[in-house]
Subunit: 164 residues, 6 copies
């Protein structure tokens, strides 16, 4: 319908999409982990950190909610992009086990030396997940949204140019 070349000519504002016979879809899996963190730039003084981060300079924590989105073609045999069990296993190994019930500043190897803002944690999780998902057939990581509590999130989207 909205993919017809004729129609596209009249809606130049959207990205041109050629007709697709074997469409890809995006599969989204949500999970969460409970972690402590504090915002601190170790190259700054305590006063500078306090002025930069305010109350976030102190230890606190969140129930982080993570949405991982993978894109791929639907396998006609299974009707799946990827077996959700495999996707869940990667998320568990790469995110849940290293981060849940941990202090993000001290306990997570891949966050070593990182300022644990939601921006930086999301970028680090992207790298972990992209590596872990490399084995899952044609499915590839396209989006990641990390919620730090219910009111603040960071989204990375390879197709919007926001990804490592």
């Amino acid at each position: 319908m909205c993919l017809a070349p004729y129609e596209r000519l009249h809606t130049p504002r959207s990205v041109y999409i050629p007709p697709v016979t074997n469409p890809e879809v995006e599969l989204i899996h949500r999970t969460r982990f409970s972690a402590a963190h504090r915002l601190e730039n170790r190259s700054l003084s305590e006063a500078e950190n306090r002025s930069l981060y305010g109350p976030c300079y102190g230890d606190h924590g969140h129930d982080f909610h993570l949405e991982v989105c993978v894109r791929g073609s639907v396998d006609p045999r299974s009707g799946m992009v990827v077996d959700l069990v495999d996707l869940m296993r990667v998320v568990r190994e790469r995110v849940y086990e290293p981060c849940d019930h941990k202090h993000l500043n001290r306990d997570v190897p891949f966050l070593e030396g990182t300022i644990t803002t939601v921006e930086n944690v999301a970028l680090a999780l992207w790298a972990e997940l992209a590596e872990g998902l490399a084995g899952l057939g044609s499915a590839r990581l396209t989006r990641l949204r990390l919620w730090e509590g219910p009111d603040c999130a960071v989204e990375l989207d390879a197709e919007r140019g926001t990804a490592p």
Copy 2:
């Protein structure tokens, strides 16, 4: 603001958007239906299905949540892209009535012969909705997100090239 050609030169990572005088917007409507299903590829043996789908090979069910997104220009007379009542009527006729309190493998004509994974159900709902929405003025289906329970969804997006 972020549409100025000058700025675009410095942010080549995002899609170029020419200035827009009469903008289109996307209107999202959420609804849900309660259905049973089981994952089964009838061309496979029971053992193959069991190994492929595990517990999903058995009858189970979900409260499916559906987000339908249509795109169009805002009509200056009504201030609407489309009358939400009309959109809701299409979703009711095309999705809710055929699927709610049904078994997706047996009771839904447009899923006949389909492996009822969330991927395939989403693709089938797209076709139904695109046809039903064809009559609604300039509004066209651009995105569809189907949640199978709270932790797993499939998204189709014509502008990302993920649509039938």
Copy 3:
């Protein structure tokens, strides 16, 4: 990973993304306000309004939920795109204070003369927020989603060509 030129050649359906060394990310902040409104086109008769808007022609109200999304590079010193406190201040000054516990048809200067559909309110909030965010370093407004109750929302997205 999915940014490799080779891979792109084989997935022409998605937007080409050149490798990025200093990625931008999108930061999303959710807030809400409680407001009354009614749908009325003052250039129409009462009968025409009633037929066009049905029950929405009468005063009613909602808890509107707003998701504001800004895009920018992560500042290596702070690990942030923008200080969430600054973003929250702009949202408070530009949206919450003018709209919360108000009647959108009568009490909000920047909605004067507007038919207060969720489409038009979202477009007006975009203009307010874009202006308010202009001062916040490199961060720029890229998306806005306004929920009018839990089942209906409008999304504006500069990168999809849906923005004023």
Copy 4:
């Protein structure tokens, strides 16, 4: 189990419940309505109202969520306390139709002259629902919780002595 007289002797803090052979259960139904209101005591001056109610003295609105709880014995023939369809019909006739897309101070007969605080609206809805439910076999209204937005609610519970 925890109803055994012996055990009760050792937990005097809870209400004594004689053994029950045909237990009653409580059935809870959630619904919502979108309405405008303002807090005003007409016997007070504008200045007194403003000082008493602050911003709530002005028109605003909410998506009110209502939880209606009825108690009764489970009918062995149907396995139900009451047919949910009947309960939903009463809630629709007594609450949804009079209140949805209305101004609670002006449009709802049973709120005529009431200060439309969530306390008073809940008490008025109790009276409406208790009357409407009178016809539904043995089921009787035992609890009502009315949420005015996500952070504030009033609960009435006949068994706690908080009901008209």
Copy 5:
């Protein structure tokens, strides 16, 4: 405060609570399972079932959400009523494993012959959980709330006399 005898005299409507030195608390654990079911009374004809249950007579399904509440004294050594891990294990063994990804009418031994209304399923889960929790120290099952989708639940509460 509100336990003082003097105050009680003036609030006769609430249950008298003697001063408590080692208080009990209630611990609530939420979980969910995805299951199919249909409402059918096998002693009735198809026509009678259809008229009694309408669309619920057909196979459909839900994401059931379960809140299990246990009451007990806080152990000074652990600061816990019961180890949440033990409570979760009982819920997993008694509810999740027998019910998740199952058809409640056919696959669950303890529902054999039951009309699988949310009322009856809740009563059956109570019996299972009460037995499973018998081993967990002083903690005893006091409440159970089972949500069948987001808008309908049944609550059992031993202290309100609604329990098997």
Copy 6:
């Protein structure tokens, strides 16, 4: 009152409620705070703590959601049990400010020396809130529910005998 055997005979399953002319209602306010904590009994060895608390022995954190319930008569002048602004002020001063963006084991005076299980934190918040609410007219604290993430909560209820 509702414990008298005589009354039980006439309403065996539910508590007898005498007619009420000026009913009390319960007002519920929800808020949340983000905090870090770890479970540790300082009188035990590291090995004992690790075996008792498992991963909870390490620093982690949550978005705690708190529901505070006060009971009182509805003031005919205001239509309120208590001014929500006053209730919110007490919750802010007694809970939010001491606990938000803090480490519960180290930063909160009234938790000094407490094992910060959700049971003990709830009991400590009750004492703080009961004291803070003492000034709010006739309203008194009757219930408190503290959620430690979305799947685990503790409820205290003076009328169920679960309160300090």
